[in-house]
Symmetry: D2
Subunit: 305 residues, 4 copies
């Protein structure tokens, strides 16, 4: 099988929205491979390239939007992730002034000085680990930091996770899983980017192991099955994703969506579903650094199959 490869023609968008023209039309079932830039559009290459000196105003360039044939508002777009491959052998993380989880920020504002700027370069090792010099190495578990459709009315920054998906920074957006996204406009207008070789839960400093990537996908359109928020299916679990501030609101959304999902699709009584979620859910923080924070709730498939 020849896989259709898609590279961004011209500038990458830095928003999810209906106001950008699609770069390609995709048929459901077709396998496509998208090439994505890293979050910094490749501008940070070593300790000497300080973020404040080389970065422009926007982060997270997207590849897209893609127009998915047949997708209409009220449908769900199912995105099957077949593979995510880093396209270089080094990744970069940084401390960016007033950005991250353990610093004050432009939204959680204080009068304190920023943390120092730092750049970490990780290199792929023969054993598959990614090492920061001889200090430590982390396992590769590549995933897409941003993935989403166009909101119906708004154009939202590629730094924002919300009902349309976007910058969720959920490590489960990885190969082998299926991501469900709401379709808000004709063609869904799908985009993705911000490939991470690895990232801890919470993405504490705000920057993962950033890398350029190639993501291989297959789309399906679930007609007239609207969802409010993104969902993820892995072979072991079903997952719901909520993004909001404060963090407890993100958790409430993820939990509430799971109760609704169990009730509507798996025929649990509403209160039994709440009970099941209370006793068996996993509930992890995906990010506490983006414009909205993201929480993922997970239920074992033994309860949904």
């Amino acid at each position: 099988m020849t896989i259709r490869e898609i590279r961004q023609p011209g500038d990458h968008p830095y928003v999810f929205g209906r106001y950008h023209a699609p770069i390609a039309h995709i048929t459901p079932g077709e396998v496509v491979a998208l090439y994505t830039e890293d979050a910094f559009e490749g501008k940070i290459t070593g300790p000497e390239t300080l973020p404040s000196q080389v970065l422009g105003k926007y982060l997270n360039p997207q590849t897209g939007p893609l127009y998915i044939e047949g997708a209409e508002p009220g449908d769900t777009l199912a995105v099957e992730i077949l593979a995510i491959e880093p396209t270089r052998d080094w990744a970069v993380s940084t401390l960016i002034p007033y950005f991250g989880g353990l610093t004050s920020t432009t939204l959680t504002r204080t009068l304190q000085d920023p943390l120092p700027e730092r750049v970490w370069i990780y290199r792929r090792q023969p054993d598959g680990m990614w090492a920061y010099g001889d200090r430590f190495a982390v396992s590769a578990r590549p995933f897409m930091g941003t993935i989403g459709t166009a909101p119906d009315l708004e154009a939202l920054s590629a730094l924002t996770p919300h009902m349309h998906g976007g910058n969720m920074d959920v490590p489960d957006v990885c190969a082998g899983n299926i991501v469900h996204l709401p379709v808000n406009v004709p063609g869904a207008l799908f985009s993705t980017g911000d490939c991470h070789v690895a990232q801890g839960e919470g993405e504490a400093c705000g920057v993962a192991l950033e890398i350029s990537g190639k993501i291989t996908l297959r789309f399906a359109v679930l007609k007239q099955t609207p969802i409010l928020w993104p969902r993820i299916l892995s072979p072991q679990e079903i997952m719901t994703v909520g993004s909001a501030r404060p963090l407890e609101d993100a958790a409430r959304i993820a939990l509430g969506e799971m109760v609704d999902w169990l009730t509507k699709s798996y025929r649990y009584d509403r209160w039994d579903a709440y009970q099941l979620v209370s006793q068996t859910a996993k509930l992890s923080v995906a990010n506490l650094v983006d414009t909205y924070y993201t929480v993922v709730a997970k239920i074992d498939r033994r309860y949904s199959d």
Copy 2:
């Protein structure tokens, strides 16, 4: 070896504080077994015993306090959990009006009606699972919902998790793990209770599989090694626990404590520690229902050993 068994003589305290006299003096290294009541002091026994009708004003009776010989302010109390055994074959969960994560509460207040009251009785099955009728069954993973020392000045409700431990509802407070708690008063004044057969992360409805239990412990006193917040060590991971509102503040505490721990005990550079946590931590919600919410950060022991 004969294990010393401790039952509460008289009333159970419903606070962590220095104002209750110790019920026993314990020597470090001694193995003791404590018997604990369930969170409702056994008053909810079936669907007909509605929480609003049978519960008193307080929840989470504690067994304790225990005076640990040699523990002084500035020390750390290390609590090795050797075993946690339910002492009956049924557990109970409920919906309590205006309590839980997917309802408004006395602190997150709305004008809406409460959710309906419900009681779920789970029974131990021959295969070790705990079943709610024929609807669903959950795996047993018993742990203590509350565990802590006395604050130096305050007396804090047994519903509150904070720097002293308390009602953290962290599933990793289980057999095989070691819990580190700050010592704030002479003798530490340790208490525990609120045994759970199982609980999902977040404890969404606010009530786990509540049960009476027997917990077998061994204490050690780490002299002059003060800690600010509780920590947990498992064979695979080191963990920090933060409890605060909003939930992001709990996460910040857990992450900040982990950075400090890695820096002070494992000789990482401060910013490398922040980086390591950013790329490898797990960050899960223990509860979003108590008077403070609790988050746990975990790092693989490959990075600390």
Copy 3:
């Protein structure tokens, strides 16, 4: 003087953004009067028109955008409000399901039922008060709930207050005051709407005394004096406005902006400015119901003049 009157030609936009073409070009110094629809575009007219039955998907129709000649990114747009006049003698408030400050919402989610839908019609009295039947009457203090410029990249819902202004619901956006807004795109692309006859601080139920209005304005462009967030000047006070979640982050922004303003424009030492704000600021909640919450900090002009 003849005042140029501007009515929306065609559909009202429901976003602030650069993607809508301007409806008029305005010269700084020119006096213009804009006609605005109420937040419901006039669809709720009495107790029988329940919000859930008559409202469409969007609220807060805007009049605009206006292209202000000479305004460029990095400038500040000063909007002098000369008059705000209701254009009818009745106003409407409602309870909308899952919207407001004392109910769970789509973002602060619970499993509870919504509050009942209600409609209140207020009528202008001969004494100038606005009365709800014979129950109670409130004083008129008309102001614009939404006022803002276009963000540089995003298109943000007219329900959202943020750095560009938008749905701040600040009662001080009233006649006699001057609103400063950042200019992010050429021409600023100013819009306004959501006229309120009156509103309490916090806008507790999410809906004020909604009315159609006529607002008379004069614009000035302050060249190369960038601001981050909206500011308001009254004859008695200078004010800063922050919009974020949680509410403390909105307060931090408003306070931090005030410290910066005092430092940069009024030559206070940074820490003296912090001290002055600590001892003399007023700090009130404008709304705790919109997609971001809004807080206003105020300092008496005795300290700035």
Copy 4:
């Protein structure tokens, strides 16, 4: 009339709780004057006494507790404030490391350095203003930062505002007003302290114009009229006070309490009360620096009388 004067015999308590013996028994109707220390127990006297060097572990020494004859759980204690007089001619404010609203703190934790320590000494001027050198002067409006009763079970730090009152930092706790507090234990066990000559709303830096004071009071016991949270009555307004985190939860409590008060005491329909609050309330931040944040809702007495 001779007014009974009460000075603390021995150490001042740093908690509100039932575990301290009363220092005096007071008859309702009796006028008493209490002498209070400043928040630092007088230890900060000039720019050279840096907080980190001279302060002990605890802040906000209380004068009390007072046993109010006849007060029993379920009653309300009405505290009429007849006068508040500073007992010296200088007041002090400071920046304390990791404390305040525009810095990270022990609970809102970052890896940033603290703000610099600073001390401001204000001196009373002949015109009644309090001046910081020749930089600026503020008007005196003395009030008590802490005022409260004992919780029924807990002993809460004098830095904490909650249902019992405590460290609310509400400027309306001033002469001429009446404060209503819940009675949770026999005798109420009333304490007060932390006199402020002046303070801005929000108490941004965490420290007001701290001073020692003399407060003249008269108590009344409202039998069998339980309240959940503190209330304040001024000649112009009725007020409710909520303390919680995040700040929106404090606002929800204050607003919800006001709706309940209007419904129960002033016979409004529940939804009309919500509407009235929505259109006429003032909603200001008292503090966003204490262990819980405090918000005050105010309604004009025209609506309650």
